[in-house]
Symmetry: C2
Subunit: 123 residues, 2 copies
């Protein structure tokens, strides 16, 4: 019954990846289009060091993919299931808070499904 330890740890780790505001913001930023670190840093208004750490963690966890081009590194969502789960969580919380606070609208706009073929994000 101890082999389950690994299973539970793996599941917990998976949840833990998205249990942090900054990482959720990152996921929101790159769930549709890949972006270089510098752009993510700018959009989130955080320090480059911090973003880099989170990007690294998310990449090692298999949630983000990275691609080097020149001296820039582009990150993008690499785990469609995780993105889908994020959407579910947003919907779940939106439903819960539906009558309490005016958060619903915002929540439903997080992690949007790709509407059509989109081009690179513009500043």
């Amino acid at each position: 019954m101890d082999k389950l330890d690994h299973a539970f740890d793996a599941v917990a780790a998976y949840f833990r990846v998205m249990s942090e505001q900054t990482r959720l913001r990152i996921m929101h930023a790159v769930c549709e289009v890949e972006k270089p670190v510098s752009q993510i840093v700018e959009e989130l208004g955080a320090t480059q060091t911090n973003i880099s750490r989170h990007l690294n963690l998310m990449h090692r966890s298999g949630v983000l993919a990275r691609r080097k081009q020149g001296h820039q590194v582009y990150y993008r969502a690499a785990d469609p299931e995780m993105v889908e789960i994020c959407r579910r969580v947003c919907n779940r919380i939106a439903a819960q808070l539906d009558q309490e606070k005016p958060l619903r609208g915002d929540l439903l706009r997080l992690m949007p499904r790709p509407k059509r073929r989109k081009r690179a994000a513009r500043g």
Copy 2:
């Protein structure tokens, strides 16, 4: 866009609930049947204090419901969406590790869907 702060925080908190081994074990224990604290403690082999704290947190987070009966408190899963998300995560990780380690079997058995209880012959 500072109102999003609350949204991201709520989503992060939701993920954080299941980002811990003990809480995942608890969810696994009560996702089908409600159980008193004492039984959960026994099944998980943890201290009563620790289990109680986690149960309380999960209850405040809305993922567990509690019911008092006599001097016992029964807990059960109260958020079907969370249970479904847990299953999805298990499936996701099982798929990822499918070729690596023999975890798949265990993972797929976590958070099982409620089996149709045979409708006792007293139709």
